[in-house]
């Protein structure tokens, strides 16, 4: 339902944007996520403990600056979701980024041959875009159920991409983690709400948190098997969300045009 005070989007649209399951979808039991993929030695993952997140958006700016992401483009963003009825209001903070899916629908649709421009790295599970192969068709933007991608006009070969730029998104700060440095959004986070590491290493912080909390993932029913997990966001998979039925408002700077802007 929409709230009585006419938000511009329908709640269903919003829920898609939030990445929440709609009320009719039953909760699918979590797969044993710590199991190793056949050849994958490392599975990089991020756990976001929303209980520790104040919605400050330091992560959004950290990511923006790290990559000089063009205005309108977004690799990392935070959704503020207001629900409930005065005075029993709640504001849920939901930091968002690419889910580095184990079954990435974006890779599926990438048309370049023989190598796909966007692919999942076997050695660590990061889904990346090879700027030199990307033809700027934006098919992956459509395929991503999480709206994690945008077209970056500053990158790629203008001829090959027909001036569209290349698809871009979070790559877990590969250039930092490869040097032993925490991702840009992680080291800045004032709540230490973002925890990064190797899920295949049972002694890592992320593995321990996943083990302990069985955290939520976004749109589990899409079977994408995300590598981004949320603690304290059970509402995302709840069958009933009475507060959200009373009133619902989603704020994010990621506007409608973000993902479509250059396609």
């Amino acid at each position: 339902m929409t709230t009585a005070f006419a938000p511009t989007m329908t709640r269903r649209q919003m829920l898609k944007r939030v990445g929440a399951a709609t009320a009719s979808v039953t909760v699918v039991a979590a797969a044993p996520i710590t199991a190793r993929a056949a050849k994958q030695e490392v599975r990089y993952a991020m756990v976001i403990d929303t209980r520790r997140c104040s919605g400050c958006q330091a992560c959004s700016v950290a990511c923006k600056a790290e990559f000089e992401v063009p205005l309108g483009g977004v690799r990392s963003w935070v959704e503020h979701i207001e629900v409930g009825k005065f005075p029993n209001v709640e504001r849920r903070m939901l930091p968002r980024l690419c889910n580095q899916c184990s079954e990435p629908p974006c890779v599926e649709v990438c048309p370049t041959e023989p190598d796909k421009a966007t692919f999942k790295r076997e050695e660590d599970g990061i889904v990346v875009v090879d700027d030199s192969l990307c033809i700027g068709c934006a098919k992956c933007l459509e395929a991503c159920p999480y709206d994690a991608r945008f077209m970056n006009p500053f990158k790629g070969d203008p001829v090959k991409t027909k001036g569209n730029g290349v698809a871009d998104k979070c790559d877990f700060c590969m250039h930092r983690i490869s040097q032993g440095l925490q991702p840009s959004c992680v080291n800045t986070c004032q709540g230490k709400a973002r925890i990064f590491g190797d899920l295949n290493d049972p002694t890592s912080a992320v593995a321990k948190l996943v083990e302990e909390f069985e955290p939520t993932v976004l749109l589990r029913e899409k079977k994408t098997k995300p590598s981004v997990f949320y603690i304290g966001a059970e509402y995302l998979e709840a069958k009933k969300d009475p507060k959200a039925d009373q009133y619902f408002r989603l704020d994010t700077h990621r506007n409608e045009r973000s993902s479509k802007r250059w396609s």
């Binding site: 600056a65 090879d130 890592s204 700077h253």
Partner: protein
């Protein structure tokens, strides 16, 4: 271009340009990535970025930071992981500062007005011409014996900047120096000065067990924001510390609280008063409270014993019952009682308060009531409570003052308007100039100060600033073409803080004190110059003695070489390399008040006891002794110790006002000005007269913006650029207003049109409009208007991708300038308005 397929094989490129000691901060990191910062790499080439330790200045918190430079260009700002204040984390604003340097509307050359004031017609001049012009005016006034007609008004000027720039004007002979503190937090400061001296309190979240918050949005914005906020988040997450937040609006701080208690605007003080009533009537003061009360003054008699004090407080708060407070505040009496008990019995607990409590007519009393509640529960100045704050104590070079320093009496409001304007009354400066009774400046220099945007009554401020009869010569020192800069006659291109030197000193929540410096990430662009260097040039032209230092960098160097501790660590070279230093053996400061003072000190030659106040002090003359401590001007500077019935103690040393060494909750100073000496509930006159469809306009700040100086940062403007008015559905419905509707907000001084954000996250009866937005200048990212002399994009490839056109509204057009009668704090939260659908 990096090949993504074999990226990780790149391995560890030699990290030669990193800052030393990027140790792990993460408690639960076991076999995780070892480095938490102080190094950076290019995402396109993988090459290390040059890492330069410095300090933020986006807000007054001034966190230590690291700037990352690639090919001479500042590309990223992060926190400094070695800072004990920030512990390596940073807010959005601080990182957005990366945009200041390359703001395409930045002013790069001295500019002289050629058209009408405010018309935007300028010509570029040389620094020599600009400085000659200023020096000539200053000389003229000095020769005429009117140096006070040179008025210098700043918004933010701290630590070594304050010493050199402020020092220059005082050395020249003018004391006509204004600030902006009354618009910000001056009320909080004065209330603290009247009670326990000093003006900063620190909330010890590291050690607390419960947080009771009246009107602070500490997780989004605060005077010591990140150092405090992250500690609170960690305390809540790791120790399960609960916070209860009283606020009219459901801020992000309220959202992270265990409980949000909506309270009618301006009535927090009544709730606190009722909590004191509960503590006193239920005997919850017993033990810690009684012990602490020894060090407080709550009666006229400075020698009163604790039972007498308790009786006095009981009598004073007798009528402040929870039922009484419920009627005023809308907060159920049962909740007030329960929270009072919880605060009094959870040891230690911290009482937090800021602008939601103090930016009201009764703000001074609200804060004094907060101090009283802390005192009677003993939740004060010990670990886990509200503590007296500690900052770094630099040993700065001295700049000698002129023999005679004269000043225009225009900075403290109209005669009789404000009782103790210890941080001045910024909002009344332009009205005082218009009025003219205390004289007018011949030259008005604005430094990091935007009177038209930052004060209330914007329309009037613009009229005054434009009027050449009232303001003959206006100089703006600004890196950007701001909303007041546009009305100047002469613009000096200042550097943004990313290109400055400073020796910094802001409050350290660890109660130790952190020394840190700001150094330039890159060389100033164009001909921009830090004003703290420019004053050295002006001094030369005017024959003014600036002491030992030759430039501001030199001043910072000398501070590093002369300050004990920093000096031994390696002085300036150490600080340039590491950015921060603190004494690893220092013991966190607590309980400053109960140290016995030996006889050798209070019986020393020149020290006398002032019987009326119990203060041992050093009167300068017989005359002072006769007048007594309280009546002698500036006597607080001569304070030595406090005589109490149980001994002579260090006490709460006074600052700015002649209070005793007790924590003064019964204030002879306020009594002398006709106020109740006890912290007292004061109804807000405007709110008493409200009609049935009137609303209270309240203001707030958003996590990604500072008050008025960050909307030019594109990364921040993209996050927050418009500010629809928050209004509760019930309140909206009664006016036929629905979400997104255009609404008109009308106050006694004007009206404005904005959009409605109909939300459950606000109490009925108010309308909340944030600061930050609605600029009419400040460059293209902030207002859509370019600075008139900057038509190119200056290499900003983002320009064509700016996707928003709605820059929001500025509420100050309808908010009158209205100082708190005790301390002069601008009352941002008191304006009565009507709201209608357009």
């Amino acid at each position: 271009m990096l090949n993504r397929r074999n990226f990780l094989k790149l391995g560890a490129a030699a990290a030669t340009t990193t800052v030393a000691g990027g140790a792990s901060l993460n408690a639960h990191a076991v076999k995780d990535l070892p480095d938490w910062g102080n190094k950076g790499f290019s995402p396109t080439t993988g090459k290390p970025r040059q890492a330069i330790p410095s300090a933020c200045w986006q807000c007054v918190t001034r966190c230590a930071n690291i700037g990352y430079v690639e090919d001479g260009r500042l590309v990223k700002i992060e926190s400094n992981v070695n800072s004990i204040r920030t512990e390596g984390v940073m807010c959005a604003k601080g990182q957005g500062a990366v945009n200041h340097t390359y703001d395409p509307d930045r002013i790069l050359y001295p500019m002289q007005r050629v058209g009408e004031r405010g018309a935007g017609e300028w010509k570029r001049i040389s620094w020599d011409e600009a400085l000659d012009m200023i020096a000539a005016r200053m000389k003229k006034n000095r020769d005429a014996g009117t140096p006070e007609k040179v008025a210098f008004h700043y918004g933010r000027m701290k630590a070594s900047h304050s010493k050199t720039i402020g020092g220059f004007f005082k050395a020249y002979g003018t004391g006509s120096i204004g600030n902006h503190t009354a618009l910000c937090e001056g009320g909080k400061w004065t209330a603290q000065e009247l009670t326990w001296g000093g003006h900063y309190d620190n909330w010890d979240f590291d050690n607390t067990k419960f947080v009771l918050n009246f009107g602070s949005n500490v997780l989004e914005t605060h005077t010591n924001h990140i150092p405090t906020a992250h500690r609170l988040l960690w305390a809540m997450a790791e120790k399960g510390v609960e916070m209860v937040t009283f606020d009219v609006r459901f801020s992000n701080t309220a959202a992270k609280s265990k409980e949000w208690v909506p309270v009618k605007s301006g009535t927090d003080g009544a709730v606190i008063a009722a909590m004191i009533n509960v503590v006193m009537s239920e005997g919850l003061y017993k033990g810690d409270g009684e012990e602490f009360l020894k060090y407080t003054r709550v009666t006229e008699d400075v020698n009163a014993d604790v039972p007498t004090k308790i009786a006095a407080i009981k009598a004073h708060v007798k009528d402040y019952t929870p039922d009484w407070a419920e009627k005023l505040s809308g907060v159920p009496a049962s909740k007030i009682t329960a929270l009072a008990r919880k605060f009094a019995t959870t040891k230690p607990a911290v009482l937090v308060s800021y602008r939601g409590l103090v930016c009201h007519y009764n703000g001074n009393e609200g804060e004094r009531l907060a101090q009283l509640l802390c005192a009677v529960t003993g939740q004060m100045d010990k670990p886990g409570t509200r503590m007296k704050a500690v900052g770094a104590g630099w040993k700065f070079p001295k700049i000698p003052k002129a023999k005679k320093v004269k000043k225009l009496d225009i900075f403290d409001g109209f005669p009789g308007q404000v009782a103790y304007p210890t941080h001045h009354v910024a909002e009344m400066v332009l009205p005082m100039i218009k009025d003219g009774r205390n004289g007018r400046p011949d030259m008005y220099v604005m430094y990091c100060w935007t009177p038209t945007y930052a004060n209330g009554h914007v329309g009037e401020a613009i009229e005054i600033l434009k009027d050449e009869k009232l303001m003959p010569f206006v100089v703006s020192v600004d890196p950007f073409y701001g909303d007041s800069t546009m009305y100047a006659d002469l613009i000096l291109p200042d550097t943004p803080f990313t290109e400055r030197w400073t020796a910094e000193d802001m409050v350290d929540p660890a109660q130790i004190g952190e020394f840190y410096i700001r150094q330039p990430f890159t060389k100033p662009l164009g001909e921009a110059r830090d004003f703290s260097d420019v004053v050295f040039d002006l001094a030369k032209r005017l024959g003014v003695d600036m002491g030992e230092a030759k430039s501001h960098e030199d001043f910072v160097r000398l501070a590093c070489e002369n300050t004990p501790g920093v000096k031994e660590a390696g002085g300036f070279e150490y600080m340039k390399k590491h950015g921060v230093w603190h004494d690893k053996n220092a013991i966190p400061q607590q309980q400053v008040y109960n140290r016995p003072v030996p006889e050798s000190v209070y019986k020393a030659k020149g020290v006398a006891l002032d019987e009326a106040s119990g203060v041992y002090w050093k009167p300068a003359s017989e005359e002072d002794t006769k007048k007594g401590y309280v009546a002698t001007k500036g006597a607080y500077k001569k304070y030595v110790a406090q005589k109490m019935p149980h001994g002579v103690f260090s006490g709460f040393a006074p600052d700015k006002v002649n209070k005793s060494g007790y924590l003064e909750l019964w204030s002879p100073l306020l009594k002398a000005k006709g106020f109740n000496p006890f912290p007292t509930w004061m109804p807000i006159p405007e709110h008493q007269k409200m009609g049935p469809d009137d609303l209270i306009l309240t203001t707030f700040k958003h996590a990604t913006q500072t008050h008025s100086r960050t909307m030019n940062c594109k990364y921040l403007a993209e996050l927050y650029h418009t500010n629809p008015a928050w209004i509760n559905p019930e309140t909206a419905k009664a006016r036929g207003i629905y979400d997104g509707d255009r609404i008109k907000v009308t106050s006694a001084i004007g009206e404005m049109v904005t959009k409605a954000r109909v939300t459950e996250a606000i109490i009925p009866g108010v309308v909340a409009i944030s600061h930050h937005c609605g600029h009419w200048a400040y460059g293209r990212y902030a207002s859509g208007r370019r600075a008139p002399f900057t038509d190119e994009e200056r290499g900003d490839r983002d320009f064509k991708f700016k996707w928003w056109t709605d820059n929001g509204v500025h509420p100050n057009w309808v908010i009158p300038n209205a100082p708190d009668p005790i301390n002069g704090q601008q009352r941002w939260m008191d304006t009565v308005v009507k709201v209608t659908r357009v």
